[in-house]
Amino acid sequence: MGLPAMKLIRYLLLGLAGAIILAPFLWMIATSLETPEALTVFPPRIIPSPPRFSNYADVFQQLPIGTFFFNSVKISLLGTIGELFAASLAAFAFARMEFRGKKWLFAIVISTMMIPFQVTMVPVYIIMRYLGWLDSHASLIVPHFFGGAFASGAFGVFLLRQFFESIPKELEDASRIDGASRFRFFLTILLPLSKPALAVLGLFVFMGIWNDLLSPVLFLSTEDKMPLTFGLAVLQTVQHNGRFDLLMAGTLIAVTPIILLYIFAQRFVSEAFLRSGVKG
């Protein structure tokens, strides 16, 4: 008897939580379609009428959003490729080879995940300065080919090693008998078989780089080099009094690709959580 009522309450709560979580996004959209004058009035108008879509043209004209966007795409894509490269090679060695100090090395690699950026930030900055990479995209891209400036690569090594270990050893033996080198096996058989794991890792790494503020703020200084996060953070302080309409339009442009990517790939994300959560 109480069951349908319970169910109704559950759905009401689910909907309420959803509304609270979505409200800031909806407010961002509403604001991005407002006129600047309407944004100075209290009480605020909930639905812009008529919606001013020209804000989106203005944002590209008045703010360097196009440049920021291009920088974000470039840094995130190249960085993701780099991290997949470094992590898959290392994971292959840890999963499939025997060598001296393997256990120790693996433990060290994993334990670097616990080092907070606050400790390494200053020396890493000095290194970048020394390399002459300050205010250049090299500082944001190249480290990923070596596992990332702030030890982000260790997670990838851990994830891929688990996956590589689950692929039957006989497969490697067979390909070796056919005369393929170990590296060839890795490149032409193991990696293609590992697409699901590489996709999940790539997704997380891409989101991580796209959303990162620390490294850009640390290494970059000129506006035309900035990715969206840094650019918007700067605009936020500059634009403080006024043009929230354009700032919200810019923010919407920044979050949309990542949200779409997530929605397309959300099945993988949930699975990754389920799999890694099993051991708690």
Binding site: Y11, F25, P44, L105, T120, V122, Q236
Partner: protein, 296 residues
């Protein structure tokens, strides 16, 4: 097969290290090296362009005897003290709400996770606008029930709780996913047996769900606490540590020391003190583990 094993063996030598080279070089240059260099720098006075000169423990002594350091440490704890319990309570509630095989489960899960994939910068900008004291949505909603909201981010008393609340919104979905994975491991017959025995929903939660989820909850508490101490981007975007120094957190203070005051030696010392605080807290949590985490 035997000959194959033999060739494997002969290849043992340097090949694995070749595969490991990128990550080992990266970790040496960007993590292990800096950890050591930073310890050395913390014992010096160092500004970019000048040679570091050794000052012993002076940086640590000065920091530990400065009022601002303790104020900033206190504020960081204050943030964690609000953020950790509230966010975990919210995450657990969300996980419990969608746990059962409800229709539209995937939909709600996706919606609740959206803030997690949004960058902290974007979230902070959106919330700065929501928190706007004059024309913000939050104060408008409060005015509907007769409350005059404060100037959230410009008020030293409200700025920190406001940042914590934004962080709860931003991150709750992440722990929800981990807790969901934990909840899915609990056998359903436990609950059914208890229900047949007439146990109420609350009783079942306390005596079945909570103990069985407690190892996962422990993991979540530890990781969330470490994350809370590291809070940086929120203050960078929303308040710059202000008004005054009221939202200055340890991470932001280290940042300021290094890149606004250019005192790299003291920033390194601060970094190490920060690391120590995080380690002590994590250690204490592991010690307290037996008290509340269920071990079968």
């Amino acid at each position: 097969m035997k000959s194959l094993r033999a060739t494997n063996k002969s290849e043992r030598g340097r090949w694995p290290y070749l595969y490991l080279a990128p990550i080992l070089i990266g970790l040496s240059v960007f993590t292990v090296g800096p950890v050591i260099v930073s310890l050395f720098l913390s014992l010096t006075h160092y500004e970019i362009g000048l040679a570091p000169h050794f000052v012993g423990a002076a940086n640590y002594r000065d920091l530990l005897s400065s009022r601002l350091f303790w104020q900033v440490a206190g504020q960081t704890f204050y943030y964690a003290f609000i953020y950790v319990p509230v966010s975990i309570a919210v995450s657990l509630s969300l996980a419990l709400l969608i746990e059962k095989k409800t229709r539209g489960l995937a939909f709600f899960r996706t919606v609740y996770f959206l803030p997690v994939v949004t960058s902290t910068v974007a979230a902070a900008i959106i919330w700065s606008w929501l928190y706007n004291g004059d024309v913000g949505l939050l104060n408008y909603l409060l005015s509907l029930i007769g409350i005059t909201g404060p100037q959230w981010l410009r008020n030293p008393h409200w700025a920190m709780p406001a940042i914590a609340l934004m962080s709860v919104w931003k991150n709750a979905g992440y722990n929800m996913m981990i807790l969901l994975a934990g909840l899915s491991q609990i056998p359903t017959d436990y609950h059914e047996a208890a229900r047949l025995d007439g146990a109420s929903a609350f009783r079942r939660f306390r005596t079945i769900t909570l103990p069985l989820i407690s190892p996962v909850l422990f993991f979540v508490v530890v990781v969330t606490t470490i994350g809370a101490f590291q809070v940086f981007e929120q203050t960078y975007v929303m308040t710059n540590g202000g008004p005054g120094t009221s939202t200055l957190t340890l991470s932001y203070y280290i940042w300021q020391m290094a890149f606004e005051f250019f005192d790299l030696g003291r920033a390194s010392a601060l970094g190490y003190l920060f690391f120590l605080i995080v380690l002590v807290f994590t250690f204490v949590q592991f010690r307290a583990r037996k008290r509340w985490v269920f071990q079968p």
